[in-house]
């Protein structure tokens, strides 16, 4: 049993703790936060939680923007010079 345990820890050591900490800090820098003092002490689980929230909000933004875009494109079907510009872009 002890040999199995050592095998598990040795396979985990291939990716060092330092690397993981580095990744987490990089993630932290990406997240939108008003606190300038993003110290190293921010726990990994908190960073991951904020990452999930951020990804969800980005997904929502994309959905919202595609919604607005499709509405705008449907209303712009009139014969106006602006419409022809947009149309030439995407049609």
């Amino acid at each position: 049993m002890s040999s199995r345990r050592s095998r598990q820890s040795s396979s985990g050591a291939r990716i060092s703790d330092d690397q993981i900490i580095q990744l987490i800090s990089k993630l932290q820098q990406l997240l939108p936060g008003t606190r300038i003092q993003r110290s190293n002490k921010a726990s990994a689980s908190k960073v991951l939680q904020e990452t999930c929230t951020y990804v969800r909000s980005l997904h929502r933004e994309v959905d919202d923007l595609s919604d607005r875009l499709s509405q705008l494109l449907s209303t712009i079907d009139a014969d106006s010079p602006e419409a022809s510009i947009i149309r030439s872009l995407i049609m």
């Binding site: 049993m1 199995r4 345990r5 095998r7 598990q8 990716i15 690397q19 993981i20 990744l23 987490i24 990089k26 993630l27 990406l30 726990s43 990994a44 689980s45 991951l48 939680q49 990452t51 999930c52 951020y54 990804v55 969800r56 980005l58 997904h59 933004e61 994309v62 959905d63 923007l65 595609s66 919604d67 607005r68 875009l69 499709s70 509405q71 705008l72 494109l73 449907s74 209303t75 712009i76 106006s80 602006e82 419409a83 510009i85 947009i86 872009l89 995407i90 049609m91």
Partner: protein, 185 residues
Amino acid sequence: MHNSSQLKNEFIKKWIQGLQIYCSSKKQMNLLERTKKIKLSADIALASAKHSATCWSKAIISEAKKDERNTILINNLSDPKMNFKCAHQNLACLKRIRSRKILKKSCDVGIKMKKMKPRRQVSNLATCIAKRLVKKRTQVLKRLVPGGESMDEYSIIKEALDYILSLRVQVDVMKNLVNATTNFE
């Protein structure tokens, strides 16, 4: 940032290409269909702009390929060579994950037997809880990032980093187009 502007240009090119494909195929689309097509072409454009450098982009394209209606779009936007690679890689990835899970389960049984002894210090408990929390959050993140289910903890964080950067580019471009279109009214 050189990388993000390059990604932006690639994304814009491919997205406009995708939109043109849709507009040339059908003139009459209801609002919901159009929204879906816009979002789909944006997602595929973003994924193919990465040129199969990341797992999530391959996952998006292989997911979109499952629907036959998307074939024209995918053939025009993405690199055909990459599609074969990602299916093969996903399978190998899943096998690795499965064997790792089996190994971990067998180890956990051994660890639990050892834990029966009541010599637990506070610091061990704290790290235990922290690890469990991290694991929980990682699971949620795996569901959010496309193709995340078949990744280990380290790769999912790397992929999430890249995915967030690319999503930002996508949102930027779409916002600019919406603003430009709104200003015309």
